[in-house]
Symmetry: D2
Subunit: 358 residues, 4 copies
Amino acid sequence: MGNTYGKKFCITTFGESHGKAIGVTIDGCPAGLNINEDFIQRELDRRKPGQSKITTQRKEGDRAEILSGVFEGKSTGTPMAIVIFNEDQKSKDYAHIADKFRPSHADYTYQEKYGVRDYRGGGRSSARETAARVAAGAVAKLFLKQIGVEINAYVSQVGAIVISKSYTELDFSKTEDNIVRCPDEKVANKMIELIDEVRKNQDTIGGVVSCVIKGTPAGLGEPVFDKLHAELGKAMLSINAVKGFEYGSGFKGVSMLGSQHNDLFENKDEKVITRTNHSGGIQGGISNGQDIYFNVAFKPVATIMQDQESIDVHGNATTVSGKGRHDPCVVPRAVPIVEAMAALVIADFYLLNKASKI
Amino acid sequence: MGNTYGKKFCITTFGESHGKAIGVTIDGCPAGLNINEDFIQRELDRRKPGQSKITTQRKEGDRAEILSGVFEGKSTGTPMAIVIFNEDQKSKDYAHIADKFRPSHADYTYQEKYGVRDYRGGGRSSARETAARVAAGAVAKLFLKQIGVEINAYVSQVGAIVISKSYTELDFSKTEDNIVRCPDEKVANKMIELIDEVRKNQDTIGGVVSCVIKGTPAGLGEPVFDKLHAELGKAMLSINAVKGFEYGSGFKGVSMLGSQHNDLFENKDEKVITRTNHSGGIQGGISNGQDIYFNVAFKPVATIMQDQESIDVHGNATTVSGKGRHDPCVVPRAVPIVEAMAALVIADFYLLNKASKI
Amino acid sequence: MGNTYGKKFCITTFGESHGKAIGVTIDGCPAGLNINEDFIQRELDRRKPGQSKITTQRKEGDRAEILSGVFEGKSTGTPMAIVIFNEDQKSKDYAHIADKFRPSHADYTYQEKYGVRDYRGGGRSSARETAARVAAGAVAKLFLKQIGVEINAYVSQVGAIVISKSYTELDFSKTEDNIVRCPDEKVANKMIELIDEVRKNQDTIGGVVSCVIKGTPAGLGEPVFDKLHAELGKAMLSINAVKGFEYGSGFKGVSMLGSQHNDLFENKDEKVITRTNHSGGIQGGISNGQDIYFNVAFKPVATIMQDQESIDVHGNATTVSGKGRHDPCVVPRAVPIVEAMAALVIADFYLLNKASKI
Amino acid sequence: MGNTYGKKFCITTFGESHGKAIGVTIDGCPAGLNINEDFIQRELDRRKPGQSKITTQRKEGDRAEILSGVFEGKSTGTPMAIVIFNEDQKSKDYAHIADKFRPSHADYTYQEKYGVRDYRGGGRSSARETAARVAAGAVAKLFLKQIGVEINAYVSQVGAIVISKSYTELDFSKTEDNIVRCPDEKVANKMIELIDEVRKNQDTIGGVVSCVIKGTPAGLGEPVFDKLHAELGKAMLSINAVKGFEYGSGFKGVSMLGSQHNDLFENKDEKVITRTNHSGGIQGGISNGQDIYFNVAFKPVATIMQDQESIDVHGNATTVSGKGRHDPCVVPRAVPIVEAMAALVIADFYLLNKASKI
């Protein structure tokens, strides 16, 4: 229950932070797709820890191994299982929190829900699980490339430092040029500085990842419940530490008048476009062929290198001490995760839409 | 595809704005629940058009009729079909837009997706569909009352007018005291004034509905994809005109430090509580027993009483004129819809959670 | 839960035997399909009671009314709700069994599962529910006609009277020529005689409905669980009174040798065929383009016009007396139901298969 | 698509016969269950090849490795991934059929559906996939033991040799005493003799596996589509080589009169029982607390050690020669598979039923 996502391009993830392995099964990837394993690995490398001074110093090789569903380099239409064996399992790092509830983690809620709990590194609630999503998302991206869809996410805010430019003014080829993954170099430097300062203070800070999807054909989305943006929202909100989602004009659209907000249709060179795009490429829950764009809000990472008051499993007051190697800010590593989830949503709706008309 | 919501408390809606009827089938409502038809009707009355000067003047009786699943006043565990026959079907009102794409409506995307389209009043994409959700949500509310869960939504923003108080300072019993459904009377009056002004200008304006859920037991939510807030987000984003969702600290949490944001656990009178609640009652995707609260952003209604440039189905430039009776601001009538969707999500997760442990 | 069938061409039925109405919502019917309401009604007429001396004498008009999803005669891609209001509700007929458990009915199990029960005419467990399936199946048939699929069911056994001919020797245009719906007139007469005799003895008798699907393209079925024959089996077993399902060689295939049973492939006029068809048109759970054929076993109807010992809801011994107007043999009216469920399965798999390859 | 089974106790299998591994993810197993790995292995050993002279001589260790979802010996409520690495991968055994369609195998249909195909040992269509089901079924059995449900399958027919005794006359503790898994020793010897003879003739033969489920509480099953027997039927029909399913009186019930077939209720020592059990423990699709029993028909294995005419992927006539190590009769090894699928169905419905009443 709850570990499967998608209706046609359908993934099921498994694995705990400090268990033997994490992984994913992809069921419903169309047959005949060239599966570039190097690309999958490159996507995982973008997410993996230890990339820079502003991410956790944990070392995880994160080698993806495909166990099934691929034959002679092509997807066969059968389930593709991808497994990543856990290497750096310092379970002893976690003995000190075995019977404590870390503030704003999932320790308490997992204990309440399940009665038992793998406390090592957060177990199933660890963001390590997202590596499996990135692997699956890489396969979805390979598929989307074939149909001309391109997805670019980037960091648009860290703490109070916000990129002021619209996405249309940015050059996404520069996103990977700096360690915070913000395509505006000046802003990127300020973000890096802030994260570094926060890290030195043994604290953490939140941020926003923005994402732009280009090339989506009109017609994707399955109203009234499975609207395209509703599924994008769910997919993003299912990522660890996410607190909010908005698309198109988003929360700012609230203050606009209808006469300002409406996107006027125009026939430009035999192609229907809208003059503005407050709709964010989605109208009535269905893509209209314009750019889809949205923002994802991440809270500050809950693990801080400071002592915090809390309680233990017996209800007694206790102190939780920060230990281990953790991210001071999650957004740089969240960029490939947001892209992966976006790719999974678009791939799924693309396949679902094949049956809309006779 | 896409018209069913929920896994255990599961609803399927049907119907077009100007067809014979709209309705809903509820499959999975536990047997033995007292079905108070008056309560269902009262909830529908909160949503129906024509309530006040700041909502549309269309008259729709919206009488709910239960066709099945109830016997001698109790739910039987079999599907409960509720139908609302459409009365005020002025189809001719829509002849002028039969072959035009209204800006920022779903006309174009439905046409692209399906090839055919019921253009009368937006057809399936009309917010009229949400009446079916409210009817189903009323049944979910009846169930939730039995387990001590209470849901209160209210208007917290219209245009730039924002309620400044936290929800903890508000008296929800006052929400229904004014026509904008804002429990802070002073702010409410300003909102009403603004909407009225916008209406006179033949324009529309957006707003925010906030929602608070009290009494949810710890343990609801099915990570890693079906996290409680992820489903709440999807459910809200599936409502017409919604552009964003945030829960707990939301987008503001982005600028906070971990040391500020973390909610410290405390054992208070043998009950686990958190001193602050930036988590919004949900940690790791599972309810922790604290209040759940979230915001839902609505864009300005797309139908304005002004002429707008657009194109027709043949791609020719045309003008769309505003006609008919429409809401200048959707949020007052959206309050019961937000509550209904929240009730459906919580009821579903409550039932799903029954099987979490042996 | 449990009242929805199909993944893409997806139906949800509702309604009790003696409630206000029964009905169905079809979600996922492709847009642009011509919806012939007369055809839907004709299919319902094939199922309705009171057709002949060997079916129940109850009169039910069974007028199908489409509430949504059709515009100007075409499906719009949105949910199609079809409702059949109950007319002949002689609730008083059932007062005598209100607190008794009729032998081999679902009275006891519904009471145990749900705690409450609509005892009138079996409530939800009544075969009346299948009218909703026939209506939905008629829409599926309209779709299948477009892609060249034809479905023919017929009665192949009543009691010990079995049609000895293979389906390939039968003329399906004769199925509707007699009241038992057996295309072999001689056998039909014997069956009618037997049913009539059983009826006079105030008893009931079982039978077998056989079904042949022609024109299915190769490739339908979604292994490993949603094999084409596995879903056909589930669909048939979900019909009231069904006790068994077999396809192709079926239970007889058990006694065959592999060398006899294997169907040899042959290229005949540039078309792949098999010389024999013990596979029943399905190999590895996927259609191979040959005829699909299967048998469905129906038990004798549980309602007999005799006194039977039983217990009441308090556990006390009691007598159940046969009353009302019931079928002495269910199979003649089951023919359109079997066809309807087959049509729903094939339509669903056809749409699902659209996404198998890039 | 199609590789996931169950709604609450939900499994997804993956893997090809000659790929790196096969495996399964179980999502929804209740937390707190003691996971006995030895038991899982013992169940796999009952299914594995090379057990006796009447099964294939292939050697497969079939070591199950649990990658996730278990902590300190207990299920944690998170997905349990179990993987079995393939050892004995003689791919070269299959070079001779790389471009041929073996009669009555899934070669042709997979090629048609997917365009590509892992031809080695049947790839995904190989019965090797059922090892993953047996592993998952073992976990379901561990759960069912806790609630008092016991499942026993056995071989009741091989070719024309049928066990004549009812299951009530058999001693299931003797099922594992002989290599054919028939609890009646005399019949077992005849079956073994027949299989051995068939094997020497380089042929294969079909059979029937019967299954009895004791201790199921009343109330399991989710009508109208997800009836308990309908899901049991689907689950069984999804097993390789299955051609038919019947429960209770089954196909024989067809020839009975209602007055013979009806099971009269009786209150025996404050427990509701039925005097006979033609219903097979299921009425209206819901368990009534009596024994559930059913038969599963298996066709003769398609791989025979004889030359057969066929065609290749280019449509040219060719000859397929029998090679490799295969089962002359599948039913002895199918016994644990039938039990596994039955356990998965019952566990799923048990969990689903927890939400039936308030």
